[in-house]
Symmetry: C2
Subunit: 342 residues, 2 copies
């Protein structure tokens, strides 16, 4: 491959080649006017009457870069948009910072930039600032992306896992495990990949719809790394409650369930990138689930459990009621299951 | 080395070990209350009467992680604080996102976290959100850090390189080349390292002092990758002016000049991490330089050049008047000189 077809160290030098790369790839693909200004910071006008911002950051190191249903570019927009959405904020502005490995094909970078642009358009967020570094072959893996994001809270208290209360219902916006199984099957070339695609998607519009239908929603959390198990444990811990999930109510595709069993994975611990957990007061649960189901990314939404009282000292806080009527602990992942899933 | 002394893949799993790492290292070292909340976004109160924010991002891939005068932790705070300062914004909030390589000694991570904490305290910024990823041995190089930052513009137009005007003076806050030479000598174990340390420092207080003394300052820019040459070329291009630097006025330490000559480097192209270029109206230049010199990080500040009229079509925009009275083009770095300098 000719050196003009791929990333070379000089693309990270701060000199001519870096400026050309920024102009030809990043600004061309998704450059908001702030990105084109040439200054070191983007200047952003805070909408009137806004008192509170949400701020989040995420680095993405997924392998492979392209997988069924998505790629690292779409993932890096969705991950940050979804983290902002969990607080109830309206995502407005993102940064995109790249760590490129020497030898990355420029054709891959172009595809990733286009994917970033399309996903940002779908989510209606602007990419306003960025950075580019290059590391030598063997010190990276194609491309790592950090995206940080700012959202605004429009006359609303920030949502927090601390707010969950006894009697609240736990909602899930759709099937779990799709992302993790799609990525591992693409990575390993496994045969069961047929039909399983990542769920990676921006959920800010779905969250906004739920908030409108169920204004007293306590919190949202996207069950990414560590899966639903980590999310439920974290929410229970934050709110000092216990939570019980009905296994039979949790949507899982048959193909995903089969693949997880074959691999020895607990489907509750597999990463998702296009699902949202919501905790809502019982009397708003029906409205919330209807709002979720009316959104394309929430058509399989279900009420999967409820918030119970504070656990006895030393007792686990997150439980699963199995299909057979037994109850078991909803374990947090202890070791490491699927590295570099996001 | 025992696996408990170093980063393992499970530290990036989203499970128990990641939560312990965050609690024991990041929250303990520098956790603002927002970082401890356990939610996916930090909620930040916008000070009253603020209309505009500055937002910036930077990833740091420097090698070695520890070098004379600093480390990747101090660098990751200063780089982002300084980028915010260039717009005239007051830096308030930072994110810290880590890509850790399997095998990184936890003792190194602890030193880096302490350095982040001390530098954030010096710069008076809060670290409010973060992220942790782990990549396998051979897909990283110890630790890469992204820091993004938000600052506020207090009743002030954002400064921009576009604002430079004919007749303005160009100021530099001190000696150039220190960072690049310190890092390359530490990396290669070269003999000329004696006494040369990186200048890495947060310059937000210096910038604030200059703005108070010279309220019509046009812009600031920190001459990092690509060095002073890139900065001057960028400012000239943004403002459609030409700029002339007096070589004899640019402060360079003898040891740095000697090392640069030995290595065949142009000192104007070497990266700095604790220096600021300011462009100010001629009638405020003396006040601005006095303000710089009154600050510990600006004691060697000098007026190094001036802004001239628009260059003739096709002519270069950035020039150096040499000590011998000749004039040469101030070339932007074309290839690659010092990879992974920041």
């Amino acid at each position: 491959m000719d050196s003009l077809d791929q990333i070379v160290m000089a693309h990270g030098s701060g000199g001519v080649m870096m400026r050309e790369l920024i102009a030809e790839y990043f600004v061309t693909s998704y450059g908001a006017s702030e990105l084109q200004s040439g200054d070191d910071s983007a200047i952003l006008r805070v909408p009137d009457s806004i008192d509170n911002l949400a701020f989040t950051t995420d680095s993405f190191v997924i392998t492979p870069l392209f997988f069924p249903g998505g790629d690292i570019g779409r993932l890096s927009v969705c991950g940050t948009v979804n983290d902002l959405a969990t607080s109830g904020a309206i995502a407005l502005w993102l940064s995109m910072s790249f760590i490129l490995e020497e030898g990355l094909p420029l054709a891959d970078l172009e595809k990733i930039c286009r994917s970033i642009a399309l996903t940002a358009m779908e989510a209606q967020v602007m990419i306003v600032t960025g950075d580019t570094k290059v590391v030598p072959r063997g010190n990276g893996d194609g491309i790592y992306i950090n995206s940080s994001g700012i959202g605004v809270l429009d006359n609303r208290e920030a949502l927090s896992g601390r707010n969950c209360r006894y009697g609240d219902k736990i909602l899930l916006s759709g099937t779990i495990g799709d992302h993790g199984i799609a990525v591992i099957s693409a990575r390993e070339g496994l045969g069961f990949s047929t039909g399983i695609t990542s769920d990676v998607a921006p959920l800010n519009k779905l969250v906004a719809a739920v908030l409108e239908a169920a204004p007293h929603t306590r919190c949202f959390r996207d069950p990414t790394r560590g899966g639903l198990a980590s999310t439920i444990n974290e929410l229970a811990e934050q709110s000092r409650t216990s939570m019980v999930i009905d296994e039979a109510e949790v949507p899982v595709k048959d193909a995903v369930r089969g693949a997880a069993e074959m691999l020895g994975f607990d489907v509750f611990q597999i990463a998702n990138e296009g699902k949202m957990v919501a905790v809502v007061p019982a009397d708003e649960a029906d409205a919330a689930i209807a709002a979720m189901r009316s959104h394309p990314y929430g058509k399989d939404a279900a009420i999967i459990g409820e918030v119970c009282s504070r656990p006895a000292p030393g007792m686990p806080a997150a439980w699963v009621r199995t299909a057979l009527g037994a109850t078991r602990v909803l374990d947090v992942l202890v070791g490491e299951q699927l590295p570099r899933i996001c």
